[in-house]
């Protein structure tokens, strides 16, 4: 997805608040110019070479920038740096990521993850040192916790320090529509950012594998080989060269992809709960929980197919689903799953939930609620008519369809004009040449364009909220600096006000971020 104007501004603000204005200056240059070399960065930022180098080190350490180079037959290799927009935006979600781990696993694992989120990437030795110094945990229990995190795919090996990218013959653009034959092929990443991420990612065989013998110094010289997932294939020597051979240090980081997958599943479940009922939510949660590790990418349109028996077993294992019968589960599955899916004739039929449809309905609801709040009930009705129709409709027909008893017919164009002016509708003038020439307006909801506009507005709002938060922090600074025993009388009232202000602003930002994820990450 292309970066929006306020998306970049919000990302820069996040980096400024986390790492200061020097690092943010470097990051902004990269976000605005896609990818740059060190020399170009020094030129654009007008900072000293050492300042730029330190800023890049910090951004790479925190997985916000990925170095790479193009495959060149002649001439020296020039390292390029690209900002990873999604990873920057994820920085505001770290609290949510910790909450996911405490729900999925338990609070002991939180400590290791917290250290990884704070420091970006760490060696196993550093992780153990950190856990031991902050809590009276033994080396074995830390290792066990770490293993569980890697097993659950919440922690992964860091990508290659500097992958080599094949020079693209044509400029990156939207992927061409594929025919029926080529539809089976794996879709080629379209943007340079996606290509870099794909090139840097360690192969699945070693992404979640822990080679204790290669990190013997961290674990007191243990030589046993603990592998998670698939075992590492020793035949491929290229892996060793790029991803931590014996003399190279293996670095670990939080796997944002897995956290976003969990939050996506949670959003689907909550939307089904709101749209249908608690029982449907229980069934969907059971389906997604059983197949989470089998999902290949985050934005899967349908969940991995499962048999009715497997789903039912998962459902009754959960506390909320013990009272459900097989018949009830089957009924709920027929509602949740796409009716057009082909099913096996035998009893062991497989079901796959249509996640794309669930999320699209949630997006529709979100935009409709914005229109309702901003433009009123009549505008909401018109917008909903156009959204459901999915085709251009003439002004008079909209008036007739909406059956607005309180609104006169001449009010309809004004309402539609307001929506069009703010980019919530697409308008076209049609000229009909007949006995006499006449022109009329047709309106439609162009979802991809409008959704992108809504996303940009959300980034804008998030930026404003963050700025207001920073402003309030500054305003109440003298109160927050006071020790607790001095907070008396008027000061105590001021402190309570400050606490409420921060809570409301920060919680609003977290809620807004849920909507942001719905449009950008899910």
């Amino acid at each position: 997805m292309t970066l929006t104007q306020y998306g970049i501004k919000y990302a820069v603000h996040i980096i400024t608040s986390n790492f200061g204005n020097l690092v943010a200056k470097v990051c902004e240059s990269l976000l605005r110019r896609r990818h740059l070399s060190l020399k170009q960065l020094i030129g654009f930022t007008e900072l000293t070479p050492q300042q730029v180098k330190n800023s890049l080190l910090i951004l790479i350490q925190h997985n916000c920038v990925q170095p790479f180079s193009f495959d060149q037959s002649e001439g020296p290799k020039v390292t390029q740096y690209i900002a990873l927009f999604d990873n920057i935006i994820h920085r505001g979600r770290f609290a949510k990521f910790l909450a996911v781990v405490s729900q999925e696993l338990d609070t002991d694992r939180e400590l290791i993850l917290k250290d990884l989120l704070e420091n970006g990437r760490l060696t196993l030795k550093q992780i153990i040192e950190g856990a031991e110094s902050s809590k009276s945990q033994g080396k074995d229990s830390v290792l066990e916790s770490f293993l569980k995190l890697v097993n659950a795919h919440f922690v992964e090996r860091c990508p290659a320090p500097e992958p080599v990218l094949e020079q693209a013959t044509k400029q990156e653009g939207p992927a061409k529509k594929r025919g029926a034959k080529s539809a089976k092929m794996v879709e080629v990443p379209e943007t340079i950012e996606q290509r870099v991420i794909a090139a840097a990612a360690p192969p699945e065989a070693i992404r979640f594998s822990i080679m204790i013998d290669s990190e013997a110094d961290a674990c007191g010289g243990k030589s046993d080989n603990m592998s998670v997932g698939e075992k590492r294939k020793h035949a491929t020597l290229e892996f060793d060269a790029e991803f931590g051979s014996k003399d190279e240090v293996v670095l670990w980081r939080a796997n944002f992809e897995e956290f976003i997958r969990c939050l996506r599943h949670k959003a689907c479940v909550e939307n089904v709960r709101a749209r249908l009922d608690d029982e449907a939510a229980v069934v969907l949660r059971a389906m997604l929980k059983a197949t989470r590790t089998a999902e290949k990418k985050v934005k899967t349109e349908n969940s991995v197919p499962l048999s009715l028996n497997t789903i039912y077993e998962e459902v009754i294992n959960s506390e909320a689903g013990r009272s459900l019968t097989v018949g009830r589960v089957r009924d709920l599955l027929s509602v949740l799953c796409d009716s057009s899916q082909e099913r096996d004739v035998d009893e062991d039929e497989s079901y796959s939930a249509d996640l794309k449809k669930i999320l699209e309905l949630a997006q529709d609801d979100e935009v409709e609620s914005i229109v309702l709040k901003r433009y009123g009930k009549d505008a909401y009705t018109m917008f909903r008519i156009l959204s459901l129709a999915g085709r251009p409709i003439e002004t008079d027909k909209i008036s007739d369809m909406s059956q607005l008893s309180l609104v006169e017919k001449n009010e309809t164009p004004k309402i539609l004009y307001n929506l069009w002016k703010d980019d919530y509708l697409h308008m076209e003038r049609l000229v009909v040449t007949g006995a006499r020439q006449s022109q009329f307006l047709v309106w439609r909801v162009d979802k991809p364009i409008i959704w992108k506009h809504v996303l940009d507005e959300m980034f804008h709002t998030a930026l404003n909220l963050s700025l207001r938060l920073a402003c309030e922090e500054e305003r109440f600074k003298e109160i927050t600096d006071l020790p607790a025993h001095k907070l008396l009388g008027e000061m105590a009232k001021q402190w309570q006000l400050y606490r409420n202000v921060i809570l409301v602003l920060q919680a609003s930002l977290l809620k807004l971020d849920d909507a942001l994820m719905l449009f950008h990450d899910f």
Partner: protein, 213 residues
């Protein structure tokens, strides 16, 4: 309809007459009444430690923010003495429980092998981590000042005498004596190549480039 400056009303054609917009003082963030956000300030929805889920998320987000602000990862354009003073660990601090590993300066945390060589400077990777000093943005300017002084000194001694500061450390912060200015070699004193703009080389202006009226 309130509008700025003179002129007719906008969309719809109405709103005639002339007038000026009343000047209102600009306020970036005006005071607002706080909404009682459900689940945050709602006393019924409490989960652990008497706090709601949102409240826990808010507190955790703020903790992260605090940690990064005080870490070596935080680089600002201007380095104040205050920020550097906060890095000093007091004797009393050793008893305080540490929530994270205290990883000193920036280069103590980073595993330099995992970065492109142009950022780590190649040889730096072999050095032991503890000896790496914290980066100071003013160091570049200090070096430039030092080189400038050395250049001046070299010019004055005509390259005969060896520079005093040559064997010393680059980052030395002691102020060196400014050499006394000697005007004996100056062109102004000698009056050589002095052009008072009234000699044979200045051609008389025949005025042919004047504009014709």
């Amino acid at each position: 309809m309130a509008y700025r400056g003179r002129g007719r009303g906008g969309f719809g054609g109405g709103g005639g007459g002339f007038g000026y917009a009343t000047q209102v003082p600009f306020e970036l963030f005006p005071d607002i009444d706080l909404p009682n956000v459900k689940g945050i300030l709602d006393p019924d929805k409490k989960i652990n430690q008497g706090k709601s889920e949102e409240e826990n998320l808010v507190n955790q987000s703020r903790k992260f923010q605090k940690i990064w602000k005080g870490s070596p990862f935080y680089l600002e354009q201007t380095t104040s003495k205050e920020r550097q003073n906060t890095e000093v660990e007091r004797y009393s601090d050793r008893l305080k429980p540490k929530t994270t590993i205290r990883r000193g300066a920036l280069f103590d945390i980073l595993e330099l092998k995992a970065f492109p060589q142009e950022l780590t400077g190649g040889s730096r990777a072999q050095q032991p981590g503890r000896k790496r000093v914290r980066w100071n943005p003013d160091s570049e300017l200090q070096k430039l000042d030092l080189f400038e002084k050395l250049e001046q000194r070299q010019g004055n001694n005509d390259g005969k005498e060896k520079k005093e500061g040559e064997g010393e450390d680059e980052d030395e912060e002691e102020e060196e004596e400014e050499p006394e200015e000697d005007f004996s070699d100056d062109d102004y004193q000698k009056n050589q190549d002095f052009d008072d703009d009234d000699d044979d080389f200045n051609m008389e202006d025949d005025g042919d480039d004047e504009p014709l009226l």
